[in-house]
């Protein structure tokens, strides 16, 4: 494992001078795998990885879930090497959710390095897969999630795959809620969007496809379960979803049995074309936004470091010794060492072929 740099509290990804004038549209695509907790994201990535290896077109795989205990696929870059989730909880006195966000934030500061690695290795793989944290909003409603998404999309073709648990989606209210959430992600990222109905071995997702094709049918199913209060709104929202479904790519898979994965690759290829025509023109705007977010994050981290210093100073005063600056620096440094920042500078080359626990 590469020796890690210990960043000072004000270090963040400085906006590097832009050498490229736009995304490299010919580069292999990255696929952001999103979905509700329990939808089967990790299993999907596992199966897709195996599928691609079998066809001698291996993927480059990145795990962005800091709290996962076992990663059941050979992973090239693992956030858990950069930030130790349990240590973050301990060292910063955080609960599980706070720790996930902090891990993502810390990863985010190094993400330019990850992009470099992806670009460097692009010749050697067919697609880059990114597995995201279990709780979807840690990614979709966080600054670091946005920065990561925008960094990828500004660099090369990026596609979102939204995993749906078909078994749970048989409930029409759950289905509607899930699809509205998918639509919200579409508007958030503005990236090509593929809905993956997973767990097809448990429940055939044909019901979902029928609902998507036939508004009346869905509305009937919904009527049985909804309260009268929601009637009108519910029907109007069904119309919204009806529009959403037009031109929406869907695939039905079973990550357990492997069925449907040919369709996955076709959908990705088609989405890359959509990326070129729709996303690239928006690139400049997104890049400007990302810079703003980066700066805001940098400022926030500096403030937090100052806060930490303030707490530290208060503690010192309480214990009766007015200490010097060096004490604080040393403590911060050792704290950071313990949470093991670093390890992204070289990816796990030697481990890439091995299943990691």
């Amino acid at each position: 494992m590469a020796e890690k740099d210990v960043p000072s509290s004000s270090a963040a990804s400085d906006p590097a001078p832009e050498l490229q004038t736009g995304p490299n549209v010919d580069q292999k695509p990255s696929v952001l795998v999103l979905g509700m907790a329990g939808s089967g994201k990790t299993t999907f990535v596992q199966r897709l990885t195996a599928y691609l290896h079998a066809r001698k077109t291996p993927p480059y795989v990145i795990n962005l879930d800091p709290a996962v205990t076992k990663v059941p696929y050979p992973v090239n870059v693992d956030i858990r090497d950069t930030v130790k989730y349990k240590e973050v909880m301990k060292e910063f006195g955080m609960g599980p959710n706070g720790a996930i966000m902090t891990c993502l934030n810390l990863m985010c500061t190094r993400f330019d390095k990850v992009i470099e690695l992806i670009n460097k290795r692009s010749q050697d793989f067919s697609v880059c897969l990114l597995d995201t944290p279990g709780q979807i909003e840690a990614f979709t409603w966080s600054a670091s999630g946005s920065i990561i998404t925008d960094s990828l999309a500004s660099s090369h073709p990026t596609v979102v795959m939204y995993i749906v648990d078909s078994a749970r989606a048989t409930n029409p209210t759950t289905f509607m809620s899930n699809m509205l959430y998918a639509c919200s992600i579409l508007y958030r990222t503005k990236l090509p969007f593929i809905v993956v109905f997973n767990k097809a071995d448990i429940v055939k997702p044909t019901f979902a496809l029928k609902w998507m094709q036939d508004f009346e049918r869905f509305d009937e199913a919904l009527e049985d379960t909804r309260s009268s209060y929601m009637n009108d709104l519910s029907r109007s929202l069904s119309l919204v979803l009806d529009e959403f479904y037009c031109g929406l790519k869907t695939v039905c898979v079973s990550s357990a049995t492997g069925e449907g994965f040919d369709d996955v690759m076709t959908a990705i290829a088609e989405s890359v074309e959509a990326y070129k025509t729709e996303y690239v023109p928006m690139y400049e705007k997104v890049l400007a936004e990302k810079k703003l977010l980066d700066e805001a994050e940098k400022k926030k981290r500096e403030e937090e470091a100052m806060k930490g210093k303030a707490v530290h100073d208060l503690n010192k005063k309480a214990h009766g010794d007015e200490d010097d600056e060096d004490g604080l620096e040393a403590e911060l440094k050792s704290k950071v060492d313990r949470i093991h920042l670093g390890g992204v500078d070289e990816e796990n080359e030697e481990d890439a072929e091995i299943e990691r626990a």
């Binding site: 720790a99 909003e137 966080s142 209210t173 928006m282």
Partner: protein, 271 residues
Amino acid sequence: MKYAQLVMGPAGSGKSTYCSVMHNHCLSTGRTLRMVNLDPACEVFNYPAVVDVRDLISVNDVQEDEELILGPNGALVFCMEYLVQNLEWLHDELDEGEDDYFVIDCPGQIELYSHLPVMRQIVDALKSWDFNVCSVFLIDTNFVLEAEKFISGALTALSAMVAIETPAINVLTKMDLLSERNKQLVDEFLETDTRAIVDQDETVWNSKHRKLTRTIAQVLEDYSIVKFVPLNCEDEESIDQLLLTIDTTIQYGEDLEVKDNYPEEMDPEQE
């Protein structure tokens, strides 16, 4: 009739801050808000909670359990399902009196609303205990400073709303942290016809999704229950305005007025 606000929203949207701001505001105006924490994964909050789900079960308890090997999300789901199995505990703890007004801090994870029946079950229980319930869905304004992101926020709120089926007020938080320019931008979103805003931006993506965007904008126009209310925690008037909107939605205060006018019908057991 009792009243409850369910405070929900993504992590970082400002739920706990909202709760303490509301509590303090009402203290100063002589109103009693009874605060409840229903988030088993929450770490710290600065309002006095009359009920705290962590007295029943917490994510820490679950994660420390050696038999259950659960990650943070599994632990949260476990806690919520445990709560649903022990709703009498909640009922006892609430110990609600007539006209009591509760503010309930809920977990943020959308899975608990759309994917699992737990939040729905809790809402249904509250209704069965004679509560008028209203959702207060919070979104950090900083995430919606663009027409499409604004729509994204509205859709997320809707996603939760259709799942638990209560009236809802959507709140844009952290208005006090916005720059002047952004404040104006947000005001524009809130006051103008949503469609007009979206039509401004001519990009390939917008053209492709124009019809969808218009349909969504139509819903936002037609259903005032989906509108957003800005909240500036530093501004008493802003807090007051929001509270009034929520009270109206929840129909709080209507019964009270009747009681004032007909004092002979007032329940002698009440203060």
